[in-house]
Symmetry: none
Subunit: 336 residues, 2 copies
Amino acid sequence: MRVALLTHEAFPDEAKTAVGLLRYGDHEVRAVVDREFAGRRVADVLDGVQDAPVVASMDDVPEVDALIIGIAPIGGRFEESWRPDVRAALERGCDVVSGLHDFLADDPEFADLAAEHGGQLRDLRRPPDDLTVAEGTAGGVDATVVTTVGTDCSTGKMTVSFELRDAARERGLDAAVVPTGQTGVAITGWGLSVDRVVADYAAGAVERLVQTPEEKDLLIVEGQGSIVHPAYSGVTTSILHGSAPDALVLCHEAGRGTINGYESFSIPPLPAVVDLYDRLAAPVSDATVVAGALNTRHLDDGAAEQAVAGYAEAIDAPACDPVRNGVADEVLDAVV
Amino acid sequence: MRVALLTHEAFPDEAKTAVGLLRYGDHEVRAVVDREFAGRRVADVLDGVQDAPVVASMDDVPEVDALIIGIAPIGGRFEESWRPDVRAALERGCDVVSGLHDFLADDPEFADLAAEHGGQLRDLRRPPDDLTVAEGTAGGVDATVVTTVGTDCSTGKMTVSFELRDAARERGLDAAVVPTGQTGVAITGWGLSVDRVVADYAAGAVERLVQTPEEKDLLIVEGQGSIVHPAYSGVTTSILHGSAPDALVLCHEAGRGTINGYESFSIPPLPAVVDLYDRLAAPVSDATVVAGALNTRHLDDGAAEQAVAGYAEAIDAPACDPVRNGVADEVLDAVV
């Protein structure tokens, strides 16, 4: 599928969905639509991903099959300033794919345009209507289940999940990511945005997800949020218990001391976070934090190496920065 | 408000909402409508609650302002056999109040009758459409905020919340319950069924709830589920962090060793549950478990007294069974 990614005023740092699609997705990205970053190229700022031009609006996008909303703003609301580009894509007969909380298919103008021009509105966060409460059966999954957890949102849980998958596959293992957020869903084409599910059914949704893949060696469940996050800890807990994992990988961003966007809340010392995940998992599974992944994007190579070593010591487990250096052997050894 | 409570074939044991309203509500209950129990009185089977006659249908109900659905069946579906009474109430111009998953306002006949006769259809489980993520501001509430937590579902968190409110009021404090489930919402006439909210917004919903009451001394937040529950721990965590409490009261049922309906999951030793609540609360608030409430309904008086003493020792905090003996002074001292 040939796609354009809409990221207005957010590329690359705040456009997590777009960057994930560029790095791990199977789509051909023909343009990034960002009125602030327009005129440059993806390769100007990102290594090891698909390259594409960045343009100011849909008017400058070559022929594509779909426009994908590549931003996941806090709250998941649709920004009215994106309307002209969504309208233009639909008028060209393209599909529009969105992971927002606001469903595009519920917007009368978009629904009419899609019907008129033959495009589809695909709201990735719309949950199926047959979800129900967890039965407590996820522990029976044959594959080794590893759940990524974090000290905060946006610490790399999704990225680490895909890097672990790729490293496991290189070792010959039959591995899959279990996506729980709209970006992972957009990349893999299946899964559920667990944060959009009725709260009572969130663990049940995850339980169903981990029982879905046919891969028999390793399932890596994409975690969300953090158990120390004042807004998202409920979703984190639902994924932790709903996936009934065999092991946890703790994701953290080097140097981050407070919750992003909630700076009055400190991230507790790393050993306390590890301990809390281990204790909270215990009533449902035997999982403990067996490895760590550190996001060192703001550091130079020397500082990153030091930071990873310090992180491994703090969490008392092997660690790596899988984006900078790939998944370390001892990290993969620890999880499989 | 003068009300009738509909409980067909469920009064009293399966009519938790009706019994809660009779025990803790401010409404004047003029009749219970139960075709099976008709001809008797509430006082024949329940102590310490409002008395009212039980009648077979709305035809036998004196003048009231509202009919309240007093049953919360598993699944929350509307029973067609209740239709004649709901119809009759609307034809008399009464409001009809429901905590069912099936929304009465979406029923064309009921909507037409309400419009024609001037009554309102109030679906307590319908979440407002402007909910969003928590901002982390609940800690700024002036009142002392106490959240009830549990070792499992159905351990008495709602009941304990109302008993604490009443005991605090007897002491002259300006106290209110913050209801997070449909029964509490039906009793108080406000609140939100937090389990019905989109998972990402659950903590935000609770944050909004605790900022709503004007009572300035004590707010008791009704908890849900348990952090050791394989299906509901996410909702529990959202309430714990979204309410940013000053103190926790741990509710437990004497003798219960496994999660009800999930018997392969053990409830951890009580000191471990206390420790886990304290540690999980810590990133967001200073709350710890300061008191306990033990449900001893299956025990005789002597065994109950022993069980409460053992419970207080296990959780290392004052404890009582507020239903059997009222709220103990030292329990109220600990929370205010």
